[in-house]
Amino acid sequence: MKHAEIAVIGGGPAGLMAALAAAEMGAKVTLVDRNSRLGGQLVKQTHKFFGSEKEYASIRGIDIGRILATEVHKNPNIETMLNSTVVAYYPDDGVLGIEVEEKKWVKMKAERIVVATGASEKYLLFENNDLPGIYGAGAVQTLMNEHGVVPGKNVLMVGAGNIGLIVSYQLMQAGVNVKAIIDAAPSIGGYWVHASKVARLGVPILTSYTVKAAYPNEMTGALERAVIWRVDDRWQPVPGTEKVFNVDVMCIAVGLSPLAELLWQAGCKMMYVPELGGHVPVRNDNMETTVSGIYVAGDVAGVEEASSAMMEGRLAGLSAAKSLGYDDGTYEEKKAEALKELENLRSGPVGGKIRKGLAQLAS
């Protein structure tokens, strides 16, 4: 049985910052990540990030991932376990079950755990939604930006949130034609600057539209045609408003939901907060869940931007270390700073949804 002072699960923006923050306080950290390199979703984010310098604004996600990973790797207080998937939390004795390199089984008992497992993609129900050629946006990003493979020639992007907009832009960069971006909401959910970026490329964005059906090519059985239709202000489709797109790829980017399996297994109190992407853990302002010693950060704690994920990670890492007695006298100051930064990031109009969600969680 392996022992860890602080186990950080997930090496994305939240987990990396948590590990660094805890290590900075003097705690020994074991950072566990299922991929062969650290960075989480950062490794496929080829665009420059928003936020402030504290979260590496104006640097590409992929480079932020590299910067943080380098710091983690050279930090003597952090041990990293790569290609390692935490598949279980056994609540009877608080043991983590970890699959390493798909060949080893490691059990680990940690004094504190920071769960920073991120989120998974939501899917959509429509006729023939299982045809080959229909992908999640994350899968398309992985395909293109990690493996250098384009998914097809003509794409219908479903979802005008930041992910849908950014992936559309990346598809166009890769020479793939995005025929349209549609969204069932009456307005664009993502940042307008992203929307303008794709609009300038000639990609139409159609709000208040949803997918009606997908149709296969009779020979190949793969996607050939997508039909969309308008929804009214009660989200009901309006017959007669159908539009047809001849596309071989449909990319679904309709949001993320927290990847909280381990928290459920641990018995953390969860609450359904749609503004935060679904069921999220109840936690205090140290990012500690209702199960003592288990902390959360990033999308698993509520789907948000990478910038706030980093700050939550920092907060969780600091607090976990502090709870083990690591404090060089700077804890209160650093915590206050992180809380302030989080408040800043969420204070504007686009943070309204998150603020509403967090208020529900706190009630």
């Binding site: 279980a88 056994y90 609540p91 009877d92 004795d93 043991v95 079950g97 089984w105 059990k107």
Partner: protein, 381 residues
């Protein structure tokens, strides 16, 4: 919700639903089933779903044989539009100690005498049935081709739907909070959704039967025991029968969908907790691979657990409760409630209606523990 009923059945598992269906089919009106959670939330919905006739006591053999015969025709009996997926691939029981071999011989003789055509096989003969079996350490096997397994969910839904069609009212998320007894007679039950007046109550509450019994002032000596189980990814069919070892403490079968389901019976503390543990996972893998080495390359998809309600002699407790008029009990199956479910339904309905039972169940009554007439079953996992 009904305010009165002919009978209130506490527990929406296989025993309760099968009894409700049979009562309605035999003409009883106003049968009410109360389930504190959703249907299949208890032991039935978590079980390994094996159905075997190879038992070591006459009582269990008779019950199992009759139950199996009902399973064979259950889709038709219940007019189920789905499929309960009853597959008779047999049970291959593996003896790994000399003592077990002796017991198997006795069992097979007993079973044969009761019309169960089980056979004793050499390990080499067992290989003809399970070609991949690692027979090292196996001294002998017992096999009965008519044993098998069913889909517990569909079996329950089949009963529930058939019962509903006959007028049975099934209330889920309805928890019994008290049983009204006056002058030694059942008067009704109290629930979180109001009271129901009735002269008859059947306790079919599985692992919670002791608590429910206490509400009527009756001690039903069953204790909850956590048992764990796991399921793998679906793979091509290569295991026909359920394989089982008592001394090796394992059962393992391949489902119609191709998934392997397996479990064992560790001695665990009395608990209502149904968490999963890592030691189960490890021990289970070792046990499974010992008999079927190819399982090594198959992936585990989920582990879960459920409760056995263990009676002092690991035998069912069926029948009238003498102390309280109108109170009946069907519990204590000690891990075999699902396979006995169909016959339990018939026998309990007969018993409640005051009819002679097709199989005598007097010896399985609750009072046997006071009388000291326990029946011990040697063949359990």
């Amino acid at each position: 919700m009904n305010r009165t009923a002919e009978i209130v059945i506490i527990g929406g598992g296989i025993s309760g639903l099968a009894t409700a269906y049979n009562l309605a089919a035999m003409g009883m009106k106003d049968v009410v089933v109360l389930e504190k959670s959703y249907l299949m939330s208890g032991s039935t919905g978590r079980c390994g779903a094996g159905v075997r006739q190879q038992w070591g006591t006459e009582m269990n053999c008779l019950l199992a044989k009759a139950s199996c015969e009902i399973f064979e025709n259950l889709n038709e009996i219940l007019d189920y539009e789905g499929d309960i997926e009853f597959k008779q691939g047999g049970y291959l029981l593996m003896a790994v100690t000399e003592k077990e071999v002796e017991q198997f011989k006795k069992n097979v003789a007993l079973q044969n005498s009761l019309g169960i055509k089980s056979v004793l096989l050499s390990p080499e003969e067992a290989l003809e049935i399970v070609p991949d079996l690692n027979i090292e350490g196996i001294l002998a096997c017992a096999f009965h081709h008519k044993d098998g397994h069913a889909n517990p969910f569909h079996t329950m839904i089949a009963y529930a739907e058939a019962a509903k069609r006959l007028g049975v009212k099934i209330y889920t998320y309805t928890e019994v909070t008290g049983i009204m007894v006056e002058g030694g007679r059942i008067r009704g039950v109290k629930t979180n959704r109001g009271d129901i007046f009735t002269g008859r109550v059947l306790i079919a509450a599985g692992a919670w039967s002791r608590e429910v019994g206490a509400m009527a002032g009756v001690d039903i000596p069953v204790r909850p025991e956590r048992h764990q189980i796991l399921v793998t990814e679906p793979v091509n069919h290569r295991l026909g029968p359920m394989i089982m070892s008592f001394a090796g403490n394992i059962y393992c079968q391949q489902e119609p969908g191709g998934e392997f389901i397996m479990g064992y019976g560790p001695a665990e503390h009395e608990t209502y907790s149904i968490t999963s543990s890592w030691d189960f996972l490890e021990v289970m893998c070792r046990k499974a691979v010992r008999f079927l080495p190819y399982l090594r390359n198959i992936r585990i998809v989920r582990q879960w657990s459920g409760l056995y309600e263990i009676s002092p002699d690991a035998q069912p407790i069926l029948g009238r409760v003498e102390q309280v008029e109108g109170l009946y009990v069907a519990t204590g199956f000690s891990g075999h409630g699902f396979m006995f479910g169909p016959i339990t339904g018939v026998l309990m309905a007969q018993c409640i209606l005051g009819l002679p039972t097709t199989i005598p169940i007097d010896k399985l009554d609750l009072a046997r523990f006071e009388r000291g007439e326990l029946i011990f079953e040697p063949s359990v996992v």
